[in-house]
Symmetry: C3
Subunit: 273 residues, 3 copies
Amino acid sequence: MFGTQLENVRKTIPLVHNITNYVTVNDCANILIACGASPIMSDEIEDVKEITAICTALNINIGTLNQRTIPAMFEAGKISNHYGHPIVLDPVGAGASSYRTHITKKLIEEINFSVIRGNISEIKAIAVGSDTTKGVDANKGDTVTSDNMDSVVAFAKEFSQKVGAVIAITGAIDIVADSQKAYIIMNGHPMMSKISGTGCMLSAITAAYIGANQDNIIEACAAAVCAMGLCGERAFAKLKKDEGNLTYKNRIFDEIFHLTPDILEAGARYEVC
Amino acid sequence: MFGTQLENVRKTIPLVHNITNYVTVNDCANILIACGASPIMSDEIEDVKEITAICTALNINIGTLNQRTIPAMFEAGKISNHYGHPIVLDPVGAGASSYRTHITKKLIEEINFSVIRGNISEIKAIAVGSDTTKGVDANKGDTVTSDNMDSVVAFAKEFSQKVGAVIAITGAIDIVADSQKAYIIMNGHPMMSKISGTGCMLSAITAAYIGANQDNIIEACAAAVCAMGLCGERAFAKLKKDEGNLTYKNRIFDEIFHLTPDILEAGARYEVC
Amino acid sequence: MFGTQLENVRKTIPLVHNITNYVTVNDCANILIACGASPIMSDEIEDVKEITAICTALNINIGTLNQRTIPAMFEAGKISNHYGHPIVLDPVGAGASSYRTHITKKLIEEINFSVIRGNISEIKAIAVGSDTTKGVDANKGDTVTSDNMDSVVAFAKEFSQKVGAVIAITGAIDIVADSQKAYIIMNGHPMMSKISGTGCMLSAITAAYIGANQDNIIEACAAAVCAMGLCGERAFAKLKKDEGNLTYKNRIFDEIFHLTPDILEAGARYEVC
């Protein structure tokens, strides 16, 4: 089914406004192009009003949030809501500092997000106030496994209902849930955790997918998650013995660039529950 | 002819001060080194005075302009003018927001630029007030073709006369014009548009070329445009079937790194009119 | 001996807080992962207090310092001192502007650094007030050679005694000194100077190494310097004829990623004096 979602990205070339961290911003730009979308970055409050207005979707990532860019996030979010543009929130490091957790909660209060994507520790931090996030990585104690799967799915559905956004919890197993149903996605490769920013990149392409598939946010989000994971697998299969994490990153982009609807359909591994 | 311009870059290793966006800044740094120059980045107003003074050329790129860095752009521009250093302006996204268009116009009013380089929509936005820019990409309706070539060349010459800078309009066909003559450059490959920041990188190396060839700005600029386009072609020729945009980017840098005067002379494709 | 230091990084996965420039920040993040550590970036003063508290080590790099981030550097430094976390200072461009030199000196006055790592011109600028730094590169007149080695080693030891930090002067020959002894390190390859940020990357992994080896700062720092240089050599050995600086960068990361204690032990080339 996800082939259609990808096709729509390639057909409509959604323009995605990103207010994102300066660590992985170049990767977000290039992966948006690779997946078929077009990126623009702007975090100046005087500029975002018009930039976000001409875009199809917005991607807010708090990875290097600061007092100058936070007001731009709120402004862009409100304008996107006004125009009905879908928005992704990536609460990088929520739970690692109370500042990040606080800003994330305020963003969720004041803006209607279409998708909130994070690792399990980040999502728990904003949903239940835990503070187990290890820097920008999930805490091992929080890992989603087949044992705690049912409770994590229930938690995701409940949190989705509360905030009105699709919740994407990504890690070794990914969960994409709204209040009614959840995709449990098995795509991906452990080597993806050896690259800085695979989460940020996924949030960026999720914005592209939901921008191009606005009447079907949860499927679009699940398609993006499968696409990223599948390309992680395919890139790893081509990795030579002495190649490490930076060459692996290049190969993931190359796979995203060449991904076709057929390859995505054939490779997506998920269950719906 | 352009071999000499490249030789001068490699001989003099111009130090280029960049006030540029945080999206493609690393690419600007590495492509400056690849072409034979040396980069420095500084956007703090208290720091730029001395930094720009010790440099050979300045590259101002408004891709992620903000209230903190804009005053530094004006300051660095004025000091470069004071010392007679050549300056490139890259008005990223001019026409996409009135803020970007406004700041660009004010920069052009207050600073004497040697080269203004942008896509056709950006240049039209600042020259005639159109607002057709699609994010950071040119609008398809603005594309330079053999049909509208004469009028675009006339427009570029006229705008050059008005602002006193060489105008470089880059896209599938590139035009580099002063008030008297224009280079129409055919180098390049469509795949270059699949990388974020080929324009930014070109502006950076243009600053290096004009820094090393200060008595011949238009030829230096045309040489930089040919060099970038030619390396885009040569990189594509080596691209394997399953390689995508990030590997392509690596290969462009590799070609810029190994470009020799002879290869540039042999590969440059342009007309003068 | 340095195998142990590397092993400790891989075993303890130190979380490294980076306040660094936006030019090479992505490389710092990915090389930290490649070497076995975990990166987090935060430069907002309201955020750094808690972020630096949960980290193992801090890396302060002034490459694109500005009025917003400088107070965050001081804050993070003081908190790291409070917790006894080791800190690296990378005074990028000290000597190229009086602003950079001044901020660096103030940082050294107010914060106890474990390691100060820079090129010879930067270190001389902060130690003796020279201003020979050529942008972000060392001045050729300052180069460490076998002829001036003894005096540079004596200078490094003296400066180390004065400021209480290990001094790492890196270039074609690297010197890592405390007040008592110095490592003279021969690893590395000239091609490393053709990549933007090898110094920044080295500072980042130095923070990881000293974070994982807190009772032996000088050996940890020397191990990091050998590791980076050795991987530069190994990456160059695999570089194909038409590959340039960006592919070379990828290969360095791949080597850092696959570096083992045995390879490091066998390849480290240094003398102690």
